[in-house]
């Protein structure tokens, strides 16, 4: 039986990777890295995990090593953050285009400059359009569970796409939480053997990565788009199976006291748990507030979002990234677009906060709710700035 133990979330993610019995891990140790890869290196060194652990000389090479490994037919994992993710940017598009089921944990941290390394979502928002499936974990248990789920989804022959599991830098990655770490025999009921669809083999020579002229490029992109949208079905299946086996249910958007709420908060990642406390306290004060936690960012669960916002009058998005020079943050754009052609009077407030590791507190959510109840929405508001 799974034991619930106090464990640093980074180490719990490494445990999940080990339980998934990966064949290859390639990572660059800095820019910045976490205990995830240190722990994996230790597991390989101690013979607990039978895998190749390759120290790349950059994040660009780390992800390139992963692509090579995945094409060769190995279950492949890497982890990165911030600048390292930005350095991988070019190759992320190619990973999805080659339909390689690489799994990567992105420990979300701010991008330079100024150099910062603390938590926010500005790194991964730059990878929005790369064609990867993206999960957001709100706590250590989800970080552990989603890592296992990611392999199942990525390697399903109906999907064959890379997956990013996002976990907040520091407020999740470096925090010790009580987490149910599954036993290997329990995990074996869920995990399946990785059978690559196409792998490099001299007996069946294939060309990977041919270039496409204008006559073929759009069709290739359309196929990728269809694959990403179609992954929804498999994600739901995998989540249902996971829920049946271990009793933890996953949905693209988790609602909390959302059904009868007049005003809804929308969060990604670890601040969802802080927001939950704020919701409880405000409910005690008689305010009908609820919470939506976005767990699946790509493919974006637009239908669920519309459905779950049907009764609410106001939606307050709390996001930890901004699109400088645009009208708000990336989640704000996406959510407003989702409702633009809908017959709704939903007021949408886009609040940007918690950049570069600035604390996001219960009071911040209360302030946001009170503000949204009294004021008309602006394009966006950046809160917590000293002026």
């Amino acid at each position: 039986m799974a034991k619930r133990e106090g464990i640093e979330i980074s180490l719990a993610v490494a445990e999940a990777v080990k339980l998934a019995d990966v064949d290859m891990v390639a990572a660059y140790p800095i820019t910045p890295q976490t205990h995830i890869v240190e722990k994996l290196a230790e597991m390989v060194a101690d013979g607990e995990l039978k895998a190749a652990y390759i120290n790349a000389e950059s994040e660009h090479s780390a992800i390139s090593l992963c692509l090579g490994s995945s094409i060769a037919g190995a279950r492949t994992y890497t982890a990165t953050s911030s600048q390292g993710l930005a350095l991988m940017h070019e190759i992320l598009y190619i990973a999805s285009a080659l339909r390689l089921p690489v799994v990567m944990t992105v420990v979300n941290r701010a991008l330079s400059g100024p150099l910062n390394i603390w938590g926010d979502h500005s790194d991964v928002m730059g990878e929005r359009d790369t064609g990867w499936i993206q999960f957001f974990a709100q706590n250590g248990q989800e970080a552990f569970d989603m890592t296992l789920q990611a392999f199942r989804v990525a390697e399903d022959h109906r999907v064959m796409l890379p997956v990013i599991v996002n976990i907040d830098g520091f407020t999740l990655s470096h925090v010790i939480e009580p987490i149910y770490i599954l036993e290997q025999n329990e995990v074996n009921k869920f995990m399946k053997e990785f059978k690559p669809l196409n792998a490099l083999d001299p007996r069946t020579p294939m060309t990977f990565g041919a270039f496409a002229t204008p006559e073929y490029y759009i069709e290739a992109k359309k196929q990728l788009e269809q694959a990403l949208f179609s992954s929804r079905k498999v994600i739901t299946e995998v989540w249902n199976e996971f829920g049946k086996l271990y009793g933890r249910k996953y949905t693209p958007i988790e609602g909390y006291k959302a059904n009868d709420a007049n005003i809804l908060l929308l969060t990604l990642g670890g601040i969802g748990e802080t927001a939950q406390t704020a919701v409880d306290e405000m409910r005690d004060d008689g305010i009908k507030v609820g919470l939506l936690k976005l767990k699946l960012y790509r493919p974006f669960p637009i239908q669920e979002l519309r459905r779950m916002c049907k009764k609410a009058k106001t939606l307050v998005i709390a996001e930890r990234a901004m699109s400088i020079g645009g009208e708000g943050g990336p989640i704000g754009f996406e959510v407003r677009s989702a409702f633009y052609n809908e017959p709704t009077h939903l007021k949408i407030h886009d609040i940007i906060l918690g950049l570069g590791g600035r604390d996001v507190r219960v009071e911040d959510f209360k302030m946001m709710i009170n503000h949204a109840l009294k004021n008309k929405p602006k394009e966006y508001e950046l809160i917590g700035v000293r002026e």
């Binding site: 064949d23 090479s61 060769a72 041919a210």
Partner: protein, 315 residues
């Protein structure tokens, strides 16, 4: 199949064609010739990784492919990393009994830009980590498929579209980066230079490399009529002239030990090589004298390395 083609008969060369006809290389392309010879030497159990470049562009316009072997292209600067990933994966899968132990050659074939400029870091990393693979740089001395822009491998004095000769410019003003020396400085077990004008030498070097455990590097000069401005029927002769003038010496560095494959009592003057190419047409006698002097210096330096190892008996 014979291993020493030059000693036995060329008739014994592998008749299998794994880089097949119908690709889009220019007439007289030395690169296409080199690839054909490399694959003949490597044989069937081979996987090829290519970075973006001439080779990738001429051989794989979707839905066509000139490769009769598994071939993969990811991006411009990471062929060595992708090859390293394949090698690492095979090693792990074999250790876990998920793959048989049959030897598979992993060869990365890049151009001079993808090797000596944008791909140098990934290559250095792969050498340092000790992946068991062969990297071949097919050096046509500029970014040819995108319109002949200079690279760090473009020779001194050559006119390219981004180092043009002009009223106050003599073309490229930097000296060609010595990639073979950089590879050798990683203390890898096998480094060689080659040119398809010497097909048996090239093929033997590929086979020697593939028999060696660890990272291997072959720097192969490939003629480019389009970028060099030379007649397409002259390319084999030009390769020989590059060697006979000492501009591109053929040598090997085996476990750190230098070995000259082709020595000459007297080098031909560099003009014998330069005069057939329009990229050097603008050079004045004084410029050519500078090149001549440098070539002689480098030739002597190389010979000293060869002699040094002979005297010390280092093996």
């Amino acid at each position: 199949m014979s291993e020493q083609f030059s000693v036995y008969v060329p008739k014994l060369i592998n008749k299998q064609e794994d880089f097949v006809h119908g690709h889009r290389a220019c007439q007289g392309c030395g690169l296409a010739l080199a690839v054909r010879l490399i694959l003949k030497a490597a044989g069937k159990n081979t996987i090829v990784v290519s970075p973006t470049g001439c080779l990738e562009i001429i051989s794989t316009p979707y839905p066509q492919s000139a490769w009769n072997l598994p071939w993969v292209h990811v991006a411009f600067e990471n062929a060595a990393a992708v090859a390293g990933g394949i090698e690492g994966a095979f090693k792990a899968l074999r250790a876990k009994n998920k793959k048989d132990n049959k030897k598979i050659n992993i060869i990365a074939i890049g151009g001079d830009g993808g090797t000596s400029d944008i791909g140098l870091q990934a290559l250095s990393g792969a050498f340092e980590r000790g992946h068991d693979f062969l990297y071949v740089c097919l050096d046509n001395e500029a970014y040819m498929n995108t319109g002949i822009q200079r690279s760090s491998s473009t020779p001194f004095g050559a006119s390219t579209t981004t180092s043009p000769s002009g009223a106050v410019s003599m073309g490229q003003i930097t000296w060609k980066k010595n990639m073979a020396a950089i590879a050798a400085a990683h203390n890898i077990p096998y480094v060689a230079t080659a040119c398809p004008s010497y097909p048996f030498d090239l093929m033997e070097k590929v086979q020697t490399a593939l028999k060696t455990q660890g990272p291997k590097y072959i720097h192969c000069l490939v003629q480019c009529p389009t970028g060099w401005g030379c007649a397409t029927d002259l390319i084999i002769r030009l390769g020989s002239l590059a060697v006979e003038t000492g501009i591109f010496p053929l040598y090997e560095v085996i476990n750190g030990k230098y070995k000259l494959n082709m020595d000459f009592p007297k080098l031909r003057p560099v003009t014998d090589y330069l005069k057939f190419q329009s990229r050097f047409r603008h050079l004045k006698p004084a410029d050519i004298a500078i090149i001549q002097k440098r070539v002689e210096q480098e030739w002597q330096a190389l010979k000293q390395k060869v002699e040094c190892f002979k005297k010390t008996g280092v093996k």
